[in-house]
Amino acid sequence: MKFKSLLVGLGLLAGANAALAEDPLKVGFVYVGPVGDLGWSYEHDLGRKGLEEYFGDKVETTFVENVPEGADAERVITQLAKAGNDLIFTTSFGFMNPTIKVAKRFPNVTFEHATGYKLSKNVGTYVLRTYEGRYVSGTAAGMMTKTDTIGYIGSFPIPEVIRDINSTFMAAKSVNPNVKMKIVWVNSWYDPGKETDAANALMDQGVDVLIQHTDSPAPLIAAEKRGLRAIGQASDMSQFAPEAHMFSVRDNWTPYYINIAKNVMDKTWEPKDYWGGFADEILTIESINPNLPEAVKAKISSTFAAIKSGELKPFTGPIKDNKGNLVVKAGHSMTDVELAQVNWYVEGITDEVPH
């Protein structure tokens, strides 16, 4: 009996090996939101479509949307692995532990986890340098505000968001020394109702440019209603607020997904902690509103170009936190490892980081 099953197993293995040459690379995606959120998950799905377009019938993709972070995620990832996917992208921070767990059980499958920090033999991570986009946003917001008050709608006080708040504020300050920033936390990535409430609460208090670290277009719609300004997040949100929209900082995952699929196909893939931004065109500035003043448009383009070329690194010392401690020494540009641990506000932000 044992011998027989061994034979069957060997036969299957041989069959699988023979098939490998012709079979398309099967790629699975796990999304935290609906593909129609027009933000985070929507852009990941565009990346998936871009992958299909590039490779044609050499890849076969599937996706599961609206996957809650936690136990359900583990089940979904396991199913994708069992279904014979060779490469699986899990695209939310909260999928980190489920991904690592499932990866242990499927050593022949390659996993890529977005925005996390845990690597293993067959798990790589990829992070966006969203703070580069924030620097452009902060610069433009600092120039556009008439009340010298810009507003930031935060999701959760995790290092990525705190880092982006700092980047925004340093940029705004560099063009407008009087600028103040009000920060409101909504404790959600996607809750249009709360995002609207937060946007309105900020605008009631004199904010005239909104920056959001949440994924729905609700804050833009709120700004449009009041005739104020806002910046799009994750995807091109210009359609929601033709007048208010300044530009959108878009996540463009396609180049990364193509690159990883290539590496897996020719077996050169290695687990890496990848950080990508303007230079890799994985983060882009889109739909700059023609109704902006020429000076602001020019500054957006020049700031973007300076960051892209590496000439401008937003987190270069000396940087003091808002308690007066020197956190980055003069001349030092923070490394990715340091950037991943930011838990302080820069000088001039009057709030405290929530715990």
């Binding site: 609906p34 129609g36 959120d37 027009l38 409101v184 996607y190 249009p192 709360k194 609700a218």
Partner: protein, 310 residues
């Protein structure tokens, strides 16, 4: 805090309280007839998604609201048939309705997530909106807010001053006596439950057409449950429901306002405010058992079968 900011906060409190007001008005009528419907959240979500689809498809906001009302009534009719005709347990059926509505609305709306429509524009009422402060707070809203004012006034009048109100209360307090004097108890209850459904549908439409003019799964975020607490909070008096709704509205935006003002209180703690308020209210009311019994419709939650007279 200056006067302008306070005006804006109160204005926002009314906007935030309006969906609560709609559902709670519907639920109080339903409960006054002796039926407890815990399916508010489900009916509201169905109203939100159907209202959005109708308005999106037709380009007509009014049509969206009517569709939402009809949808809410249909949902409540399912509930009514189960509990009034078949005599199913009201609590269990209501919970089932919520779960059913949550899932079905997500399914129906899946292809429309992320679409937006042009919501209602605010209408400033001439003269009234010119009154300093009060005008800005009360009379520069959109049409649905005015509709909620109107419905509150109408219901206060109907419940307290008319024969219809008396009939409703008779059915809720003592269905057997009501039956004996010739009131069709089940018919009254059907109508009350369906009115509740229509109002929950309107509340849903307010969410998806006015508050955030878009559809997203589970967008009512527990408002149906808060409304149930509101009815108890208002001790089944229609007029008090309005006050309660705005208080809850205020509590739910206060944490965002305070953060903007730079208060370093944990946002998580502040976000709990409306729920803490709910619990506190429940405790205050529940502390006096006798009073609670006096205030609640006496037959609340109990089935009535006209064929089986006690």
């Amino acid at each position: 805090m200056d006067a302008d900011l306070i005006v804006q906060i109160l204005f926002a409190a009314i906007k935030t309280g309006t969906p609560l007001l709609f559902i709670a008005l519907g639920e109080v009528i339903c409960e006054k007839s002796g039926v407890l419907n815990l399916g508010q959240e489900g009916m509201m979500l169905m109203g939100a998604v159907v209202g959005f689809l109708a308005a999106y498809g037709s380009g007509n906001m009014g049509f969206g609201i009517i569709a939402a009302m009809v949808m809410g009534s249909i949902m409540s009719l399912i509930f009514a048939v189960l509990v009034l005709h078949i005599g199913a347990n009201q609590v269990a059926t209501g919970l089932a309705l919520t779960i059913f509505g949550t899932g079905l609305s997500a399914f129906i709306g899946a292809d429309f997530v992320g679409q937006t429509i042009q919501g209602f524009q605010p209408i400033a009422i001439p003269l009234l909106s010119d009154i300093p402060y009060v005008g800005q707070i009360l009379f520069s809203h959109d049409i649905l807010v005015y509709f909620s004012f109107f419905m509150t006034a109408l219901l206060v009048y109907v419940v307290n001053k008319t024969r219809i109100g008396l009939t409703l209360k008779a059915v809720g307090e003592n269905p057997h006596a009501a039956n004996a004097i010739g009131i069709k108890v089940l018919r009254v209850r059907y109508l009350a439950v369906m009115f509740g459904g229509a109002m929950a549908g309107t509340a849903g439409a307010y969410m998806s057409l006015v508050y955030t003019p878009m559809w997203v799964e589970g967008m009512t975020a527990g408002r149906g449950w808060i409304a149930l607490a509101l009815v108890v909070f208002a001790s089944w008096r229609v007029g008090r429901i309005m006050l309660g709704a705005y208080l809850f509205g205020l509590a739910s935006i206060m944490h965002l306002v305070l953060q903007g003002l730079g208060w370093s209180i944990s946002p998580n703690l502040l976000a709990m405010l409306p729920y803490v308020a709910t619990v506190v209210v429940m405790v205050i009311i529940g502390a006096d058992h006798f009073k609670e019994k006096l205030l609640a419709p006496r037959s609340l939650g109990k089935p009535f079968d006209p064929r089986n007279m006690a």
